[in-house]
Amino acid sequence: MSLSSSLISELQQICGENGVMTSEVDRQNYSYDAAVLEPTIPAAVVRPNSKESIGKVISLCNDSGTPVTVRGAGTNLSGGTIPNKNGIVLLTNRMNRIIELNETDMYVRVEPGVVTADLAAQVAAKGLFYPPDPGSQAVSTIGGNVAENAGGLRGFKYGVTKDYVMAVEFFDALGRKVTSGSKTVKCVTGYNLAGLMTASEGTLGVFSEITLKLIPPPAASKAMMAVYDSVETATQTVAAIIADRIVPCTLEFMDNFTINAVEDFANVGLPRDAKALLLIEVDGHPAQVAEDGERIEQICKKLGARAIQVARNDAEKDKVWEARRAALSALARLKPTLVLEDATVPRSQIPAMVSAIEKLALKYDIPIGTFGHAGDGNLHPTLLTDRRDVAHWERVENCVADLFDAALSLGGTLSGEHGIGIAKAGFMKNEVGQSSIDFCRTMKAAIDPNNILNPGKIIGQ
């Protein structure tokens, strides 16, 4: 630990005795996140309880050149909350208040530490809808969601977190409060800093308040499962649905490996011999739901679905989604270490991407289960491994690099929703080119001259 005792005591003055943790055990406990990466132990963990104290903490850190890594729930999969040595972790979970839920104008103002599912529930209780639903929503925070631009199952129709951010308030690297955006539906006052800050992963500022758009909930919905004997026809169906101008709220894909893992684990009655499944849900006005549902059924049949099960009630709908929800758990139980990748391609390229993944699984002899958001081209090839097995782990690293290459060569991107962090910082250049990285570095250097805000993330050192 290398923070001076005077700095510690100043932090304590700002956040209170209990708001600053310096014991070895506490520091160790904030050295990792959900990414499979080496931990780094911070010098201290601070838990501000007010906006003002966030500003004061940052300004102190700026003056002393102490790196600051903000942490919501630490569920990101890219090492975004692995702190810097001699740096501090700034924990937001004491700032978890909903400041204003405005039903008339349909927005909500929250502190960054509000848990996503809690927000969604409170909003639903008022008859409104906050759609972004990352798989981690039971624990992830809004601050983390915005900083990662998190997506979810409903991304296809409802978009991702950025589509709901109306305004942000954050503290910059000098500890100054900055605001951008408005409670109005339209706002073009000045630079779109809310846009810049979304997916900035704590490298440009620390959110202290976020205003999110709310929408009316859909009146009806319908879910179904289509079973395929070939990956090709399943993925062609995805393209055909989109080409037919239908927008399901959810359109999920699951490969044979995942189907069998789910069956072994949850026994939900999936066809083990199916090569792929599509799990589809449409929502909206009841008449439209009925029509879209029927058209999708027809498309599925036309393109060769072996069977289509339409859920007739909530219980059956739940069963459809139980299979999808169980996917990660089922795969997680097969091997000690699970590398959940996130490469994303244009939707028309999904067949090519799925077959590239299958080839890589063979080439590196690594079990890979693929499931994910086919509707938005965001697949989650999940590599099963044991990080203690050095040789296997090395193959995994090479395979992941090849996966990224495959996605990029298909016109895709490194990350659809999990972010860059430190896990993918080294691959950035392949996607955006050196000049783009230089641009970002110049910008970061101007905004954060002492490089204290989550240094090393996204754009490297």
């Binding site: 160790q28 499979v36 039971a138 758990s329 139980r333 000690p336």
Partner: protein, 438 residues
Amino acid sequence: MSELNKLSKSLKEIENQLTDCMKCGMCQAVCPVFKQTGNEGDVARGKIFLLERLAEEMLTDAKGAKTRIEKCLMCGTCAANCPSGVKILEIFLKARAALTEYIGLSPVKRLIFRGMLKHPERMDALVDTAARFQNLGTSKADPNQGTRCSKLLSGVIGNRHFLPLAKTPFHKTYPSLNIPAGHSGLKVAFFPGCVTDKMNPEIGKAVLKVFKHHGVGVFMPKGQACCGIPALASGERNTFDTLLAHNAALFAEESFDYLITPCATCTATIKEIWPMMSEKDSIEKFRAGQWAPKTMDISQFLVDVLQVAPAQKSYAGSHSIEFAGDTVTYHDPCHLAKSLKIKSQPRDLIRANAACTFVEMAEADTCCGNGGSFNLQNYDLSKQIGMEKRQNILASGAGTVATACPACMMQIRDVLSQNHDGVKVKHVIEIYADTIKD
């Protein structure tokens, strides 16, 4: 470092289980302790990480880690919700044993576990004496609950409201039993458990009344000891081993169809932890393994085996006196709901009493905050968690809260008594037994 090396070696046993944790953090959503403190070290992910670091000799403060790992209700909620299926409770129990072996037991715990708990006769004698003198220095706290509190002892027990020790413990009234099977054709071994024995003998009596009514034979050997979980949870494996050997020898004397307890914690311990934690190849391991499938909570036995069903509305045979006209809600003990997945049977048992109305409370299956020794070491936190339970109990509007674990009853009684709430605290078996004529 060489000392740490020893610890690291003894943690090797669980190292494989540790790597199953993928650090997804989903356990944060359900952990009652984390909900209060928001500290990563209080949730499964953080504790598992600390154990990994100890095993890798990357963490020097073993004492600090032990404190974190013990700040846990052992409620199993995290395990029930973990996508990776990490054997969290097994890891924690084994880790606590390894850490205690390394760091040692506090003098107080040494006295309690090695000096008392380990010797059932000594324990009984001590409790007897305590029961006679307990009114000295304690005063009535809440007449509704029958609880007392103690200014004199507040340094030791805080402002807890507790039920006084029973004047006559269950084992004094029924030192042993060996009743042959009646019309059910079944004979069960009965393990009342410490709290029933020493504080709530009426639960034991209700169980016997129900057995008699259903023609169930009962084998209850003399001199039963504690199931061992308090010792094991404190890392005192040696006392646990002794208690298990003692009980295993007693119950081996007679054959039986089922082993029944009215205590969720005892049931889970006998069913899961006895086989898990007994010495490899020992006779105890063999017996525990044989008994595990036969071990049942009383409500599961009544509903699943004896087919006791919710009463029809018109059910005329109800002799219920105590609960007539009452509304009853139910709190799921963690050891039943999370570890053993027993949820419907206790509710069915309450519904079997046609004279009262069952109402569901919100968050019925969240932990009451007792957690055994957790309550002793972290009373304030325990009470905060208990107060949330209290809110839900009150909001249900019930006149009685029933549960299936005497330890939960202690905790719930404390939080209700603190506020003089007047809601009765009962065991589900008491509600069912009330329908049966003496």
